[in-house]
């Protein structure tokens, strides 16, 4: 198996762990500012991995990763602000 395939498999495992953690936080009733921050941090890590490795924007001209990762962080920031204000 080549290095790229191994990396993709590793990222898949990380994404599954992140999903399981998010699900577990929901199932165990985690709520409030700290829980929201934790869940959004997991989403940020998962999203960045998908953008950089699955979408293959790692090593591409800075414009494209900046646009897509910037979108991810902006949306997550808006969600965090909205939840913290509404909690």
């Amino acid at each position: 198996m080549n290095m790229n395939a191994r990396r993709l498999d590793f990222i898949f495992a990380v994404l599954l762990i992140g999903t399981a953690l998010t699900w577990w936080m929901g199932e165990t009733g985690h709520a409030g500012p700290a829980a929201v921050l934790g869940i959004l941090a997991i989403a940020a890590v998962k999203g960045t991995l998908i953008i950089r490795d699955f979408m293959a924007l790692r090593g591409i001209n800075v414009f494209w990763p900046t646009m897509v990762i910037g979108w991810l962080l902006l949306v997550l920031g808006i969600i965090m602000g909205g939840y913290w204000k509404g909690l």
Binding site: N2, N4, A5, L8, D9, I11, F12, L15, L16, T19, A20, T22, W23, M25, G26, E27, A31, A35, V36, I39, L40, I42, A43, K46, G47, I50, I51, D53, F54, M55, A56, L57, G59, I60, N61, W64, M67, V68, W71, L72, L74, V75, L76, I78, I79, G82, Y83, K85, G86, L87
Partner: protein, 194 residues
């Protein structure tokens, strides 16, 4: 003589057709507006949103996240395989990706059918208006992504892509990953966070 020019193109442009990336950015913008509207509306209806969220099937949401992540992984492996000129493996990975998308659709249809049988619709309340419209908007994107992947698979199955020429495969893969990326936010936002 050609090598520097080809390397330059690869470094400066994302994988696949540039047009799909303009389309992806437009789609992300649309979903971003949708998510923002959801959050702003929730700020004025926190009790309703928290109460209604508990009526959703979180297990189905998590299972669908696994389907989309697995689908994205399979498609990424398909691209990695074609770069090594492993054409049959590339087509096989692509087919697994399409099947994962099919799994997502089946689970979502079960979820929708349970809600409709319980008499829930767009007019039930603000939360369900958002839940149904937001998830259905995404559902349609999954279908479009699967249609694109199916067209790419038909060509891949016939050996139409190679290590030197797999532009179409990368184009379809990029769109599919966008559909996955959006769900990575949608799942915690609608099903989990409170």
């Amino acid at each position: 003589m050609n090598s520097p020019a080809i390397a330059d193109i690869k470094v400066h442009h994302p994988p696949g057709d540039l047009a799909i990336w303009v389309f992806i950015l437009a789609e992300l913008l649309a979903f971003g507006v949708f998510f923002t509207t959801y959050v702003v509306t929730r700020m004025h209806n926190v009790a309703l949103f928290d109460e209604m969220q508990l009526t959703l099937d979180r297990n189905a949401g998590a299972l669908n996240t696994v389907f989309l992540i697995a689908g994205s992984w399979c498609v990424a492996r398909s691209v990695a395989a074609i770069k090594l000129d492993h054409r049959a493996a590339s087509a096989r990975w692509l087919l697994w990706g399409i099947l994962a998308g099919g799994g997502f659709l089946v689970v979502k249809l079960f979820e929708y059918s349970a809600k409709f049988e319980a008499g829930i619709n767009l007019a039930t309340n603000t939360f369900y208006m958002f839940y149904l419209s937001l998830t259905f908007f995404h559902f349609m994107h999954v279908i479009l992504g699967m249609v694109i992947l199916l067209a790419v698979w038909l060509k891949a199955h016939r050996g139409g892509y190679s290590a030197a020429d797999h532009h179409g495969l990368e184009t379809g893969a990029s769109y599919w990953h966008m559909v996955d990326l959006v769900w990575i936010i949608l799942f915690p936002l609608v099903y989990v966070m409170r």
